[in-house]
Amino acid sequence: MLLDLDISKTMRSGQREFHLQLNYVSHGNRLVILGPSGSGKSLLLQMIAGLLTPDSGYLKLAGRTLFDQQQGINLTAQQRQVAFLFQNYALFPHLNVRQNIAFGLRRGLFNPRPQMASETVDYWLENFGLESVQEQKPHELSGGQRQRTALARALVTQPRALLLDEPFSALDPDLRIHMRKELRELQERLAVPLILITHDVDDVKAFSDETLCLKDGHIDCARQQIIQSSLAPLP
């Protein structure tokens, strides 16, 4: 059971109000959350990561309670030990690729040094073909290299789950197909639970174990084992 939740959250912005009300239990090791912008899928992902607190309910990830309003449980983002891949990767612009990947390994008040020695970092640099750019800053990288750096940074701390926010939207179409395949293989190799949010039906096809559709803060449909050939265009 990857995800088990029953949460509600109300967001206010000026006169506008947005209600999120979700109750869902997932079964597979891969879950794709599909919905148009404004459906609340990003809010849901932030609540799983601990970057946003639900108003009420409970939230369990991979058998571990992350939030339970009645029991007064609310783990901080730091305690949740999940990896979060941001849409624009959120790489630290003042650190090079090696430092970015090593960031989560280093505790204390100082950043890892530019040439910090670490077998784990070396492993991921090699795994993602980033050795040649390890001393470059994020703005000098290509889109694919940025995504791989962000993935390596997220995976280096051995997270309990991988959360991805529209991971392929910033890539051009060819690279998108390639990175989908790469991520899928990586996920199967590491057997790390994966939750991916997207508005792109192609992402559903690539990670098609289980799909949760959101619309206006509510569950619109929940289909398991969507068969690619019978996949109807979603609303």
Binding site: A49, G50, L51, T76, A77, Q78, R80, Q81, V82, A83, F84, F86, N88, A90, F92, P93, H94, F103, G104, R107, G108, L109, F110, N111, R153, A154, T157
Partner: protein, 225 residues
């Protein structure tokens, strides 16, 4: 001649301490105002910016009323710790700190607000503590913007006259800073001393401004490329 160097070293001491205090206070307050939302935040920002527009003599008067021995705070300081700030160089430090404070906290607030909150969230998810996030992500990204303000604050503290005169007076060798010494020299008709003091002040200010403009965010980014 010696009097000139004494005034200069006193000025540097006062401005240096005022700058150190402002780095701590300005960065803390700037960060606080950038990251929290509460009723009256804009009013607080306005009040803290007042030293930039108010006549220094008015500020000096406020400080006299606040820390003078007849005030509650001033008498408490004196009764409890034997500290008297009026007519001391420490009093001059406080005057210079207050006058130069907006020059640090304003750019600091703007610099902190310009740091992408998503980068801090990314660090949070990676398990890094909040205090580490401040020193490893937020401060390094905001630092260039803050540094330019710090140098301007140093220059402003160096040139402080009005509030310092009100609080610390003009005791040669003790509280008579460079800018006050210039005034005294001119009043006493000592043109040679005045010329020397003015020249030194000008050189120091030009050096500070040149350094500040080299550290300004745009310039650094240009050189890095």
């Amino acid at each position: 001649m010696d009097a000139v160097w004494i005034a200069l070293s006193l000025s540097l001491k006062v401005a240096g301490w005022a700058t150190v205090l402002n780095i701590v206070l300005g960065i803390s307050v700037g960060y606080f105002l950038a990251r929290t939302r509460f009723f009256g935040r804009d009013l607080l920002d306005t009040l803290l910016t007042l030293p930039m527009v108010m006549p220094p003599t008015v500020l000096g008067y406020y400080l006299l009323v606040l820390v003078g021995r007849r005030s509650a705070f001033g008498s408490w300081l004196y009764e409890s710790f034997g500290i008297n700030l009026i007519f001391t160089w420490q009093g001059a430090v406080i005057a210079a700190t207050v006058v130069a404070f907006p020059l640090v906290f304003k750019p600091a607030r703007a610099a902190f607000e310009s740091v992408d909150a998503e980068l801090e969230q990314a660090a949070r998810v990676l398990g890094v503590s909040e205090i580490s996030i401040f020193f490893r992500v937020t401060l390094p990204l905001a630092w260039r913007g803050i540094l330019a303000g710090v140098l301007l604050a140093f220059a402003r503290a160096l040139g402080e006259f009005g509030a310092t005169l009100m609080v610390a007076g003009s005791i040669p060798g003790k509280t008579q800073t460079l800018s006050i010494a210039v005034y005294e020299a001119v009043q006493a008709g000592k043109d040679d001393t005045a010329n020397m003091l003015v020249l030194i002040t000008s050189v120091v200010c030009v050096v500070v401004l040149l350094t500040a403009s080299r550290l300004a965010p745009g310039r650094v980014a240009e050189r890095r490329r």
